[in-house]
């Protein structure tokens, strides 16, 4: 079947198998930030935006993205760098393998709730597993980033 997807603001039309998963579609298009960590929708590594909202690309058929917008971290590089720098300053990226999915969902959180509480942060990102960091460094990075944004907003 043929699908047309607006992938990171670029229209791509491809002939695909009907059972192709969105994760395999975007990786085949060179969006390697999207990772697979499980087969059971548990890890969150594969998070992308479908029409601006976070979805698990391992659990969405590529066909479902027909005529819709798909965004991966490759399409959000500026935001990724801005927030990612805070992660880097905490050393909270260890192996880094969970980071793209985590950043996608974190960016979704910041858009949806610019001033989340600590509990809201934990709950929103509960589906993003990380085996390396113990999550504390990620939390510190988020809190410092939000603080910085707030200060910048005031100026």
């Amino acid at each position: 079947m043929t699908v047309t997807v607006e992938l990171n603001s670029r229209k791509v039309t491809r002939n695909i198998e009907p059972d192709m998963l969105l994760i395999d579609f975007v990786r085949a298009e060179g969006c390697y930030s999207v990772k697979r960590g499980c087969e059971t929708s548990n890890c969150g590594l594969c998070t992308v935006f479908l029409d601006g909202l976070p979805v698990l690309s391992c659990s969405v058929l590529a066909a479902r993205a027909d005529n819709r917008k798909v965004t991966t971290l490759e399409g959000l590089l500026e935001e990724a760098k801005e927030f990612g720098a805070f992660l880097a300053d905490e050393g909270a990226e260890q192996c880094g393998f969970c980071n793209p999915g985590f950043l996608m969902n974190a960016i979704a959180l910041f858009r949806e709730k610019p001033e989340p509480t600590e509990q809201e942060i934990r709950e929103y990102l509960a589906g993003n597993l990380c085996r390396c960091s113990g999550y504390e460094g990620q939390l510190r990075a988020i809190l410092k980033f939000l603080e910085w944004k707030k200060e910048r907003g005031h100026k």
């Binding site: 720098a85 192996c95 880094g96």
Partner: protein, 762 residues
């Protein structure tokens, strides 16, 4: 000491690449035209392949080939997949494809084809007739059982580890000091308990994966997510029966290892396929395969006897460990040693100890290396026993430890008789006591709604590399304009070793971090390194980097002096210039110009390689305390606070050390509470996905606080010891004791589940 780069929170040099999702991992850089490999796995725990018909599978369009045991000589030399220094203590008990299936998940056939779809289809078309035998599933019954996991003639052991395949024994060992029986008999009180820990999974987020190509010279190039490029080269040569010179192994970024990738898991199959077909191929293990057919922690049963005087002086510790290595012996003989040698030495006052161990084969997935490597299990047992002893004696568990813990300057008989050269364990204990507010919270408080909060504590130690065995090397060279390249064979698996080794180089060369670029790890180009495991990289390889930098400085001075035409002994290097200053006669030349000169008619190599190995392995120490909240009705339990203090000598990178500790602690909490391993009666593992095998999410934990109390280890680089593994060791015993304080029930097996807690209250 005035440090400029070491002991600072330096950003990881690959940080921005990682956080922006750049394609730096194995599957991101694999050629697009790789043959896809999948494996047909045995559904039986103990069976022989009577017949295997691959004709229909081979005829599937897009399938390149299918391989079975018929393609591998069954009487050929066996090998081990354990990444260890040759001759490996792990027995040579594997074939690349074996007719004998020894666990549910053992590989029966390899299928390679052009697309995943073709390969999936082909796998379904393979017909296997198995001769099914009764499996040996209970590791307590394994020794001298009539069912033999390895009855074959070509089973082999290279080291004297007490292995005997005809007894299902992968290893046996005994060590002792003093007369333990007499000491226990003379003790006022003897605690005698049995503990059980399960085969927990490393669960790194990137599953096992490898791709292979044939290079310009017809050699096999293996690109793999591995911690051990050099061992991997040897293991593959053994497995394929080809010369080591025909293999090159390199690793890109690794999505976590925790020891899992210290064993060759995925590499065998693409190496075999590419060598046979001369086509690029890749194998990405699914999460299910990673959980059912890899090498997790060794399941252990530990029988502890501790003798003490009435006033709380620990007299002697007797430990027997039974370890389950599963179907193959990867890391079997070595992990078990740590269960005693890295738990008993925590108690320096003991007059006698004895440590006996057996490691047995069974028909479950093989065990292997996982952060903590046996110490985690042993420390759970010994520290739990000490906590119970404190209760029996009516002494605060912290006080009991203050009385008995090992201190700097003591000899540690159970730790290979080595001296405790740097130790801030006492300060760590004092610090954690204060962090958790022990005196306020110990042992338990009711907080209403049927909930209680309680605390528990544990100490821990590990090592810094394998003494007299591990080798770390570094090459440093000067490039144009005076930037340096650091070549290493150690593998950064997310730990940040590329960064911390660069920090050590920058410190010793008095230059900014930006002046050091890092290359690693590649068997063709890196200097030899055992690999990144056994908490060795900072201590062993780090020291090699320091020595290397110091020698390179001498070279720089020699060349600078030559250009300046002054005697080298009278010149020095300040990180920027070589300077000659003799009673007011001052001459200098910049590194920038020396570098240019070195590439123009020069004969002094501005490149140094240094290799280091250490006869000692100074242990890092740690104390951890858990505060848990338990709902006594439902048994629901949550660690609301975990406070820990680490002595890793000088932390080379303060940020990375902290995050290592936080991550390790949470893994330990998972082991204590949620990460379960259960098999059905036929040897099939139930927890085969992230759905069933529950690693902690960020809502499962309150806060983890980590502090550092530094000792200074003279033999380490800038005073450093290791940190990577010790950090997983404190949660199990600390949490188990907190659960006891809340419920009045002691748990001797992990994980401690809400069901068990709730049932204990009925």
């Amino acid at each position: 000491m005035n440090l400029r780069t070491v002991n600072k929170p330096v950003r990881k040099i690959d940080a921005m690449q990682l956080v922006t999702g750049q394609p730096v991992y194995t599957d991101d850089i694999a050629p697009r035209d790789c043959l896809i490999i999948k494996l047909l796995r045995s559904p039986y725990a103990n069976a022989w392949i009577r017949e295997i018909d691959t004709s229909r599978a081979k005829a599937t369009p897009g399938v390149w080939d299918v391989y079975t045991w018929e393609d591998v000589r069954q009487d050929g030399r066996r090998f081990t997949c354990a990444g260890q220094t040759y001759p490996e203590p792990s027995p040579y008990d594997r074939l690349l494809l074996d007719r004998h299936m020894r666990y549910v998940g053992d590989v029966a056939a390899i299928v390679a084809g052009e697309t995943e779809r073709a390969v999936d289809l082909a796998i379904k078309k393979i017909r296997v007739a198995y001769e099914v035998s009764e499996p040996l599933l209970d590791f307590r019954q394994a020794k001298d059982n009539r069912i033999l996991v390895h009855p074959e003639d070509n089973w082999e052991t290279l080291a004297a580890v007490g292995a005997d395949n005809l007894r299902n024994l992968c290893a046996h060992d005994e060590s002792a000091e003093g007369d333990i029986e007499k000491t226990l008999k003379e003790s006022d009180i003897v605690l005698d308990r049995v503990y059980h820990t399960k085969a927990c999974q490393q669960t790194m987020m990137e599953t096992f994966r490898t791709f292979c190509t044939i290079d310009t010279y017809g050699r096999l190039h293996v690109v793999s997510s591995t911690q051990i490029v050099f061992h991997c080269r040897r293991i593959l040569a053994n497995a394929l029966h080809i010369p080591k010179s025909m293999i090159r192994v390199s690793k890109p970024r690794i999505g976590g290892g925790f020891g899992a990738k210290q064993t060759v898991i995925a590499e065998l199959y693409p190496a075999f396929v590419t060598w046979k077909t001369k086509k690029p191929s890749k194998l990405i293990l699914s999460r299910e395969e990673s959980m059912t057919a890899s090498t997790p922690r060794h399941e252990m049963e530990m029988h502890v006897r501790i003798g003490a005087s009435k006033d709380g002086e620990i007299q002697g510790i007797d430990l027997y460990t039974l370890s389950n290595t599963g179907a193959y012996g990867e890391h079997g003989p070595t992990t078990v040693g740590l269960s005693g040698h890295k738990s008993i030495p925590l108690y320096g006052k003991a007059k006698a100890y004895r440590f006996v161990s057996d490691v047995v084969y069974t028909n479950v997935m093989s065990a292997g290396a996982y952060r903590g490597y046996g110490a985690t299990q042993g420390i759970f047992a010994v520290e739990s026993a000490v906590n119970e002893l404190a209760e029996m004696l009516g002494i605060d568990p912290i006080l009991l430890r203050e009385k008995n813990m090992v201190r700097q300057g003591q000899k540690m008989p159970a730790y290979y008789g080595l001296m405790n050269t740097s130790c801030a364990l006492d300060r760590c204990l004092a610090k954690v006591k204060e962090m958790i507010k022990w005196d306020e919270k110990y042992p338990v408080r009711f907080v209403g709604n049927g909930k209680v909060r309680s605390v528990g504590i544990s100490m821990a130690m590990q090592s810094s590399g394998i003494p007299g065995v591990d080798v770390g090397s570094a090459t440093l060279k000067v490039n144009d304009e005076g930037f340096y390249t650091l070549l290493i064979g150690a593998a950064d698996m997310g730990t940040g070793c590329d960064t911390i080794l660069a920090q050590i180089a920058a410190e010793a060369l008095e230059c900014p971090m930006e002046n050091i670029t890092v290359f690693g790890a590649d068997t063709d180009a890196s200097p030899y390194d055992s690999g990144s495991y056994a908490s060795s990289t900072t201590y062993v390889t780090g020291k090699a980097v320091e020595q290397c930098a110091r020698e390179l400085r001498e070279r720089i001075v020699a060349l600078g002096a030559k250009i300046l035409d002054v005697p080298a002994e009278a010149a020095f290097f300040d990180g920027r210039e070589v300077i000659f200053d003799d009673d007011g006669e001052r001459k200098s030349i910049s590194l920038h110009r020396i570098a240019a000169y070195s590439m123009d008619g020069n004969t002094i190599a501005l490149e140094v390689t240094k290799t280091n190995s250490s006869p000692v392995s100074p242990p890092p120490f740690m104390v951890g305390a858990a505060e848990v909240e338990i709902d006594l009705q439902t048994g629901e339990i949550k660690v609301i606070e975990f406070d820990a203090c680490v002595d890793c000598g000088t932390p080379v990178n303060t940020n990375l050390a902290r995050v290592q500790a936080e991550g390790g602690i949470l893994q330990g909490i998972g082991m204590a509470l949620t990460e379960n391993i259960t098999y059905n009666g036929k040897g099939k593992l139930y927890e085969n996905s992230l759905m069933q095998y529950k690693i902690p999410s960020r809502t499962d934990i309150g806060h983890i606080h980590v502090a550092f109390e530094n000792s200074y280890e003279e033999s380490g680089p800038f005073g450093a010891k290791s940190i990577g593994e010790v950090v997983i060791n404190t949660p199990p015993a600390a949490i188990a004791d907190a659960v006891f304080h809340a419920t009045g029930k002691r748990f001797y097996e992990l994980p401690i589940t809400p069901e068990q807690i709730a049932m204990s209250q009925i």
